[in-house]
Amino acid sequence: MGAGRPDPVISVRDLRMTYGTQEVLAGIDLDVHPGEVVCLLGPNGAGKTTTIEILEGFRLPSAGQVQVLGEDPARAGDAWRARVGVVLQSWRDHARWTPRMLLTSLGGYFLPYSTPERPRPYGVDELLETVGLIEHADRKIGTLSGGQRRRLDVAVGIIGRPELLFLDEPTAGFDPQARRDFHDLVHRLSDLEGTSILLTTHDLAEAEKLADRILILTNGRIVADGSAEELTRQVAGTAEVRWALGRERFVHPTDDVVPFVRRLLEQHGDALTDLEVRKASLEDTYLAMVQRFEAGARTAPALQEVVP
């Protein structure tokens, strides 16, 4: 947080988006710093995909300042686009190509933008290995499973060794192993390549594992910004203490965990055979925050009506 921090790769101020009379984004501020993995969470229709599409330059905002890798995405040229990777929610074409053909062809477009520090594109075999598609490199894309197809989407998104990567629900339809492999890939990109990543997901466990910082978007506003740990502390709530005395198991909800556990140890001593404290999960926190803000949005006008 010092003054010497490098410029953010994404900087957004008072971003607004209106479709007709419907306000989808109601003034968003956000920064993403180099090498950071930031996760955008929110219910369906909260404005996540709209936000990402504006940052990618695929959609023009109604108002606000947007800087991505130092440029306005709406006006930036091909050199800028070569530095940005995009994995959309889904795209289904090139069914008769093979992954190797598609990646070789797309990779060619990045050659003019290769630099000694950032050779572009990735080697196709290296990339196929990285996303776990090397055995299927020469199969027709139309015959790949949903999860394999999604891995190919990710490969297409990172073929140009992007400095900034957008991932829109990247693991939808993945089995647990594919999900774990994908998480390893994201960690490799951010830790070893210094890639900054902005992703959306509905999987809160995934957000908790991947993100340095989580932003919760609801009703077109960012209502929370912090690490999973910080967000969970904000909605402190009740913890649950579970313990066992031999075969008997007990449970007690409490706001004062430490005094309760201390009394438990004093009272039972060695008879205590198991002890567990369960705090609110990120899911509990997320649901509490979204409910709080959605309830606020609903009740505020109703209250105004009854006030004389």
């Binding site: 709530g237 649950e240 579970r242 031999g246 075969r247 449970v251």
Partner: protein
Amino acid sequence: MVGERPDGDAVHNRIALLRAEQGVTRRELAEALGVHYQTVGYLERGEYNPSLHLALRIAEFFGVPVEAVFSTRPFPRITDLHRPA
């Protein structure tokens, strides 16, 4: 039904019955008590005993005395109550 445990410390409960009778979901009960959703299931099946404080709050929630919810002996089945002696 669950057999009597050898240690004889089993606590029987009617949480599931009261919940069904009053039309309360597990989630609603969990939120009212400040416990996890799954914990309500553990309590109903007797896998966990509530602390004394939690037991009192459960009884309070249903608006019945605590002995109507918890007992050291199995609760009689309703069909048994109406069977001629």
